[in-house]
């Protein structure tokens, strides 16, 4: 049973990859001049479950892909998160220009493996670099971002007390790479402040009947580049805890990212998502595959 489950889950990842690739080619067709980006490998980071460039769960100040000044870049990704009682599948794509603007789309499907049923949301993200250069300036790279989210079906979120079926997250992220920082390795540090009304990132809707205020949450990542192509890191994401029906916990993960080249990367992580909808201690694996042009 368990093996069958896992095969099923992996199949869905493969299927998502297959679905994400045409998106990339579609983008390719509509955008001119896609040479390989000039930026140094790994500086695009990965793509979060919400579609923005970053780690696995925390958006960073980096702009997706490897486009530098006046260059375009496009990415497509498929991600699966397999915790005890739930499975999250994400496909996404992004387009960026000038190492300054980033547009992203992500489609999340959240399977309630144990309870039965499914939740989902679409996330449209934008990012704009305000100041600094990740590698080159003493000032960290600072980016302003927003994520517009809308759930597919408001029935379950409403039933558990959410107020709205859409929401807008706004965040500021600061990232910097410190060369030769630990044992000769480069280290990336990132801190993000987010204003959000999302319950469980939005899968359980936005706001509550009792409270429709924005909550401010802190998110952080640290990674060490073991080699030019391999990064080992940790992430922490504070979450609001507004819905009365069940507790919501902060999220954390430990990740290993392999930037095979400027066109392909694979991120694996072990994540602890805490309590979700009354199911305690949700832990499991995270796998993400990303293609970049």
């Amino acid at each position: 049973m368990n093996i069958a489950m896992n095969t099923l889950k992996l199949n869905s990842l493969a299927w998502n990859c297959a679905k994400a690739l045409p998106c990339l080619f579609l983008l390719l067709g509509t955008v001119p001049a896609f040479a390989e980006g000039s930026r140094v490998v790994a500086t695009g980071g990965g793509t979060t479950i919400e579609g923005s460039a970053g780690g696995g769960i925390v958006p960073w100040a980096v702009i997706n892909g490897y486009g530098s000044s006046d260059e375009w870049s496009a990415t497509a990704m498929a991600t699966g998160v397999y915790v005890d009682d739930f499975t999250l599948n994400v496909i996404g794509a992004s387009l960026s220009f000038d190492n300054r603007f980033e547009l992203s789309l992500a489609r999340q499907t959240f399977d309630l493996d144990t309870m039965g049923g499914e939740l989902g949301q679409d996330i449209f993200g934008i990012k704009y670099k305000l100041a600094g250069e990740l590698l080159y300036t003493a000032m960290p790279q600072i980016t302003l971002g927003a994520q517009y989210k809308r759930v597919d079906d408001f029935a379950i979120p409403q039933a558990v007390g959410a107020r709205s079926d859409w929401g807008l997250d706004v965040y500021i992220a600061a990232s910097k790479v410190f060369f030769d920082a630990v044992a000769g390795r480069n280290v990336l540090l990132n801190g993000t402040v987010r204003a959000t009304k999302a319950n469980q990132t939005g899968l359980l809707g936005f706001g509550t009947q009792a409270n429709n205020d924005y909550q401010f949450v802190l998110e952080a990542s640290a990674a060490v580049l073991l080699t030019d192509n391999l990064a080992l890191g940790i992430e922490y994401r504070q979450k609001p805890n507004e819905l009365a029906f069940a507790r919501e916990d902060d999220w954390q993960d430990v990740f290993l990212a392999w930037f095979i080249n400027k066109h392909l990367s694979v991120v694996t992580a072990y994540a602890n998502l805490g309590s979700i909808a009354g199911f305690a201690d949700q832990q499991g694996w995270y796998v993400s595959v990303e293609g970049t042009l």
Binding site: S38, Y136, D180
Partner: protein, 158 residues
Amino acid sequence: MSRLLLKLLPVAAWLFFTGCAVQKAESSAPQVNSKNSTSSQHTLYQALGGEVGLSAIVDGLLARIATDQRIVHHFQETDIALFRERAIEHFCLVADGGCVYHGENMALSHQGLNITQADFDALVGHLIESMKEQQIPLSTRNALLKRLAPMYSDITYH
């Protein structure tokens, strides 16, 4: 979470200290400066292979620039032989090699070239590749990049 961290910490520590085995392959490598590696005062210059090593790195860099359509146009009016000498001297100075640098400072020597971020990224990429070709270990490469990266603001967009 503490449970999770405890479980993964040994793995992380092992990966970190072994450098995922890649480091091992590299540490047997530096051929150019094997003579110097036992010397008591170990500068970045020596780790880069001294004069022989730096010349090879700069030649590798020049060869890559010469075939890169994105940036080669900047060098159209450059005396390449002179630029090579200056670049070697400059890297030597930056790496505590104690050379005398006869060129201009970075802001002045790049004045009017309007070098973009993409140009800079491209050159950094070539420098990394050239150092890799000379089997310079990761930590030495990072140490040089650490000293060059802050020159970005002097070199670009003016």
